[in-house]
Every structure is written in C-alpha cells, then in structure tokens.
C-alpha cells in the first residue's frame, strides 16, 4: 500500500469511527487497524535520509545511481 493509500485509509477509518451506528466490536477492529496504519505511515516518513544521486546509463543500457557530493 502506498503512503497516499495508507493516508486515505486512515481518513476513512476516522470517519467510520465518528459514526454512532457502528457495532462496538467493529469500532474496536477499525481502531486497531487505524493504529497499525499510523505506525506504518510514521515509519515510512521516519526511515529516510534522502540521497542526491546521478542517473548513469551504462553501455548495455543498464542504469546505475551515482552518489553526488
């Protein structure tokens, strides 16, 4: 699931939870799913130290990324 999809699912879960007609059991299940998704999203944001690289195409059409200073 992409970050964007994860975020969309979270919005959806939050909206569902705001409804009163949801059975309690279902509400608890959604809440758990929401927490897992939040954790996922935070991890996706947190793990990155972005790189600057140059795309190099080798003679055989194989691509390589070369670190830029």
């Amino acid at each position: 699931m992409s970050f964007e999809q994860t975020l969309a699912r979270l919005e959806q879960i939050a909206s569902s939870l705001d409804r009163d007609d949801l059975p309690l059991e279902e509400a608890l299940r959604l809440f758990e799913e929401g927490i897992a998704k939040l954790r996922e999203a935070n991890a996706a944001l947190g793990d990155a130290e972005g790189k600057v690289q140059r795309l190099i195409e080798g003679a055989s059409g194989v691509f390589a990324l070369e670190e830029e200073s």
Binding site: S2, F3, E4, L7, L10, E11, I13, A14, L17, D18, D20, L22, L24, A27, L28, F31, G34, I35, L38, A41, N42, L45, D47, A48, E49, G50, K51, V52, Q53, R54, L55, E57, G61, F63, L65, E68
Partner: protein, 391 residues
Amino acid sequence: MFDAPGSSPDQAFGVGELTTLVKQALEGGFPPLWVKGEVSGFKRHTNGHWYFSLKDASGQLPCVVWARETRRIPAPPDEGMAVFARGQLTVYPAQGKLQFMVDALEAEGEGLWKKAFDALKAKLDAEGLTDPARKRRLPRFPRAVAVITSLDGAARRDIEAVIRRRHPGVDLVLIGAVVQGEGAPASLVAALDRLARWGGADVAIIGRGGGSREDLWCFNDESVARAIAASPVPIISAVGHEIDVTIADLVADLRAATPSVAAEHAVPILAEVQDQLRRLGGRLADALEDRVAAERRALATQLERFTLRATRMVERRRARVQQVAGRLEALSPVATLSRGFTVARDAEGRTLATRSAFAVGATFDLLVQDGRVRARTESVHDDAPHLPSRA
C-alpha cells in the same frame, strides 16, 4: 596605349571573370550587415534553401538562406512581413545577380518566434496533447524525484535546496541534459527517454533557469514536447521565469513558474505530513473514547432501569405479603384470644374442642391473650353457650 582591362575589345573581360571581380569587390566593401524590409516572393526550395526578396518603396534585394542556416531561424517569414535580416552582400556569378546571403532573420517584435510557437501549439492542440484532461495528478508523497536539467545550472541548485528544506527524506535523481544551443533538444529527449526506461522516479522536473529567448528555445522544440507528452512519469515543467511560457509547459502535467516553484509542487512539507498523521491519530483516539463513553452511559442506563424494575417488583411482592399477612392474622387464634376467647389444649398441644376431650380431674392449658393458664376439669356439662360467629 591604354591597355587597362576592359578599355578596348582587346582587353574585354570574360563574363565570369568580371562577375567574380564584382563579387570580390562587393564582399570586400560590405562587411556582414543588417537590412530591414518587407518579405516578398518567399520560396522554399526542395534542397532546403529559402529564397525571397526584401523590398521597400524604392528598392528590392534578392535574398537566400542556406538550408543549414534555416535551422537557426524559428520559422519561415510570412509574405509581406517586416523583417530584419543579417547577412553578406554578394553576387551570384552564374546569374550575374545581386544576392544577400542571410544568416539571421528576425521579425518585428515577437514575429517569427511567435509564429513558430503558434504553429507548433496548433499542431499539438489538434492532436490533443495540450488538453488539460490529459494532465495527470502529481503523486502527493513521492519517494524519488527526478530532475532533468544541466548538472551545473542554477535550476538544479534551487530545486535541491527547496526539496531538502521541505522534505529531507525524498531522494533526488539528477539526469543531466544540455539545456541550450543546437544539441539541446536531442539531449533533453534522450534524458526523458532514460527517465522512462529507468522507471524509478515518481515525478520529474524538467527545466532550466532564466535566459534569452534563444536560450530557452529548446523547450519549444517539437521532439521535446512529444517526449514530455509521452512520459510515463508525471512531468513538471519549469523553464526560465514566470513570464516565459513554452510548449513544454503546455504539454507537461504541471507548469511551474520557476524551478523553485516546481520543487515546491513536487514534494510536500514533511512537518505538515507529520502534523496530519498526528491529527489523524487524535481523531482515532477521540472517536474510540467517545464510543466507549457512550457504551458506558448506555450500560449505566440499563442498570438503572433494571434496578428500578427490581425495586418495583420487590415492593409489589411486599405489598402482597402484607395483604396475605393481614388475612392470616385475622384467622389466627391469637387474634381471637385478643378479643377475650381462650383455647384449651392438652399437654400434647391438642386443642380440646369438645366435651369428650375433657376428662374430669385432668389438667389442661388455657391459652389467653398474654399467656397460659394451667387448669383442671371439675365437671363436664352439655349446656354449652352459643359461640359468636367467627370474626
């Protein structure tokens, strides 16, 4: 006596000899220069050369633009167009004709540039390549952003700085390209081709910093426009400054006014994304808390109703018990005793209700309202008094 060339039939010039001399004199006497006039009789030869005349009220000058020079001119001029032509004045010996060899041609104002731009735009419009409906939404959270520009240009630095400031976690992939001059279109097309075949970028920025109209012209090139339109990766164009609109801008998925603005469109601000996640987390927790509180209230209400019903039930039972107790009391001998009657019982507790139960001389108990009296039978008679009816 005179034998100067051309002074007598004997000294006559050959035609070619003379025209060559004139050509040399003309070229020597006139350095490359600018001429202004109106275009007349424009013809494009099959070999790629352009022929036309420049005219004004009093004169006419035959002009040629060699095929290789036409490539530097954005578009052929229109009939009657007022233009400035730079070139070398010469003679075309084969026809003995004055000729102006043009190497640069500009129309008044935007002239030829606008003409070339409009022509290509009309063509791409007709094919639907500039249709706003074709434009793709950019990914909101790209992991890798490709940048197609000159590796040592200002645009690259600007984009890098803005992306780092907004979101330090996004990867930047540079695809070097020539962004001005004759080789630029081919270089840009090659870079776009690499971007497509590599497939690792979520979005790409193509562009360069500000420059002259000629410098930016490669972004009005048809092959570049088609490569952008065909890109599988969404493209943000960022050419020059705010006022510079190019064909690349029209076919890109998004036109950014400058490279810095393109970088802003390409990546979100990390802190804002983190805020959004925090808000979502808060909403989840609040919703669940509300839900649990509601369940608790519902439970309390149920309990209250149950207690109320139980209390009522107990009260109803109690009332019935009291009612029965009242009736029992009415039947109880104790009540009878309280009205002054007594009951006789033998030692075993049997009630002595008839004459035959009493044996003369035997003792028995009389139960009275407040106790027991031990008595003895003196004698037994059959003249019983009438008992009052039961209360």
